[in-house]
Symmetry: C2
């Protein structure tokens, strides 16, 4: 209770009502805005995640100031504060204080959404298929991680004099391909079941694993603030052990999970046990000095061979639909897009930096098409373009970097533009690059 003198003047019932109204209002503003823009983007065949970001930008610090985290030094929307003040007879300054004090609850929901999303991503990873397209996917994945990471990090340091830690952070944000967006576009274009399609998905899964490992290392490093060799090696070893144990458990852990579920009789067994497994993996990752997000992904990977996979997905999907939406919208709300205004001469360098990141992000992934080891005739451009959209994992980097204060506002905005640009361009360029020869015949009404 940080403002005891103010609080004493107002009844506790009024304060509680104001706090409830603030929480519900924020929740509803986020969902109405996200839904509206997601529906708009679906109709022009663009990924809904872009809609959630744009919704955040509109209601956040660069827009209507309705949803603002306390870290953003900006004024709340007066209309919202006055409405709640009028409804509860709590004075506006105290409504603002309640808003700031309770924001951590919303952030804890967003964090839960992030973990649930990564858990679901792990759950939907098909390790068998990954091994089948193994070596071909591996070369595509590694090149698609190394090129943007090295190009982005060194380029930012050499041309824009960005510090080492933020440059590594930005480079790392460019590594991971979005499985969801690529799979969806390929599916719509009847390209998913082709050999190239399967390879790209396999490479995207590998990318995700590499990207989340890099995330775990980079976030830990950036928190330390310095680049020493020993912590890097320690974290890389911890990450390798963690991924190794997870892959081992994905063979042995799921049968144990199934055995336990078979014996449970109280309702809610699948979802509760899934969250216990996810919580355990998050705890282990955090205790080893890695990001809890890596644990959530590993938890999903471990259960991906469970016989209850469909019930797991059904149970986790509504939780992702609600809480991951809050995560992506909150990223949008924190963005300061005024640094991208081209009419302000001071913004030139930031804009050039954004353009540089977009180009490196595109070139670094499109080049992977020519690293695809295959003797058969292959549309290499399609493979490269398929690896292009960054989506979720890039945004997770942005969200964590933004909240840890490592990134400058121009660099934050440049990373956001890189994620939006690649995710936005990939479906359009893929439609242009795919010829009828590439795709499988349409399956008709079946």
């Amino acid at each position: 209770m940080p403002f005891p003198n103010l609080l004493l003047e107002v009844g506790s019932h009024e304060l509680e009502a104001a706090e409830t109204l603030i929480a519900i209002a924020r929740f509803m503003i986020i969902f109405v805005a996200a839904r509206f823009l997601a529906e708009l983007l679906v109709r022009v065949q663009l990924p809904t995640i872009l809609g959630e970001l744009v919704a955040g930008v509109i209601i956040g610090a660069s827009g209507l100031h309705l949803v603002l985290s306390p870290e953003v030094q900006s004024n709340l929307n007066n209309g919202l504060i006055n409405l709640i003040s009028d409804l509860t007879s709590v004075p506006p300054p105290e409504v603002s204080h309640l808003y700031v004090d309770s924001f951590t609850n919303l952030q804890s929901w967003a964090t839960l959404g992030l973990y649930a999303l990564l858990f679901l991503t792990g759950l939907e990873s098909d390790l068998e298929q990954l091994i089948a397209v193994g070596s071909q996917a591996f070369s595509v994945a590694v090149v698609g991680v190394v090129l943007p990471f090295v190009g982005g990090t060194l380029g930012l340091m050499a041309f824009f004099h960005v510090g080492t830690i933020p440059a590594i952070f930005a480079g790392a944000a460019m590594t991971a391909t979005s499985i969801g967006i690529t799979a969806k576009v390929f599916g719509e274009l009847n390209f998913l079941k082709t050999r190239e399609g399967q390879t790209v998905i396999g490479a995207a899964v590998l990318d995700d694993i590499l990207g989340i490992v890099i995330l775990a290392v980079v976030v830990a490093l950036s928190a330390g603030g310095s680049l020493e060799v020993f912590p890097i090696i320690r974290l890389l070893v911890a990450a390798a052990i963690f991924v190794g144990v997870s892959l081992f458990l994905s063979k042995t852990g799921a049968p144990i999970f199934d055995w336990v579920i078979d014996r449970l009789k109280a309702p809610g067994d699948v979802v509760v046990m899934a969250f216990i497994v996810m919580g355990g993996c998050c705890f282990a990752a955090t205790a080893m000095g890695l990001e809890a997000a890596l644990g959530a992904f590993a938890g999903g990977l471990i259960l991906s061979t469970s016989k209850y996979i469909h019930r797991l997905q059904e149970a986790v999907e509504p939780i992702v639909a609600l809480f991951a939406t809050i995560f992506f919208v909150l990223i949008g709300t924190a963005m300061d897009l005024s640094v991208l205004n081209p009419f302000n001469p001071g913004n030139r360098e930031g804009l050039i930096m954004a353009a540089f990141l977009v180009v490196v992000a595109i070139v670094g992934k499109v080049a992977t098409g020519w690293c695809y080891l295959s003797k058969e005739k292959t549309n290499r451009l399609v493979v490269g373009l398929g690896m292009m959209p960054r989506g979720e994992v890039g945004l997770i980097f942005l969200g964590l970097g933004s909240s840890s204060g490592v990134l400058s506002p121009p660099l934050e905005a440049a990373i956001l533009l890189m994620v939006i640009g690649t995710t936005f361009l990939a479906p359009i360029l893929l439609r242009l690059a795919l010829t009828d020869q590439d795709v499988l015949p349409a399956e008709g009404a079946t």
Copy 2:
């Protein structure tokens, strides 16, 4: 940040890791304990909600001190604090501070669980069936609300010198029958589809509506701290308007909802729109000075005739399984059962009060069987016993009363015993009271 001097000594990465570990540890302790006890109780054919309560008592203030809200003036479990301190090198006193500071996040999840549970209860209310058994169910419901409310409130004031507001609170906590528990026991005993069975369920739904309206009024009154005539009338009118509008919208609102869902294309449409409706109803209820819980129930009632009812239930159930569990476990953690120790002479009055509440709660509901207006031969004892288990709504009263500080520890423990006692005894007594004549023939393997 209430302890700036302490915080500066520890790196922010360590603090963040400690906060994450605390959140995950609390989450897992709650779920492992709740699951373990729910599984135990299911095997002896008792409701799982009792297991969640007992789990809370075991891990909370009366047990291991692992999950403790800041309101409970008690010491945290040293083992847990030291474990997290060892894993993150954050000193134990700061781990305790982080634990206290972040508890509000857990409470916000519990509140969401409560709303989701009441939303689901509203969703599963069958208004058509309620109207069919209408007048018979109505007399059972009203008597079952009035008898325990008047008997409990006046008895506590006359025999135990309890203040008016806490006495009304305790009386109100005795009003609502648990639909879930009764429906489950009747189903297991092949009694659900009989005329008496349907009447009891109808009366339980009416009870719920009456109970939640009483809750909305009583919580608002108790916050004011005094009993004046005008606020009571204002709240009753507001509640009547709110319920009236909700019943009207349950005819017209669901088709509009269906029309909107038919036109949505982005994923997660049903669950997100359901939570937007629920949020809107909670906002309206709070803005009218009523409890948000009434709004959540009304939101479910409005959508109970939607053609997407099955997808709605499927989407809300995992959220209830996770977050309502936290709500019920947290109620158990806050209970101080030492006031019930019979070897302490100072506890005598509290124990006698608990016994009194259990007797009034049983007699007040069993008597309703003889208010059942029917010319046919009826097992009136079964109707009365069917109305007996209190379950969720009684606990919601207890949770809200406990957090608002209205109830004394002995009265809190007495209400908890009343809820546990009625919920525990109802299935056992029902099995004894039901004869083969009462039940429908078993349906065999179909």
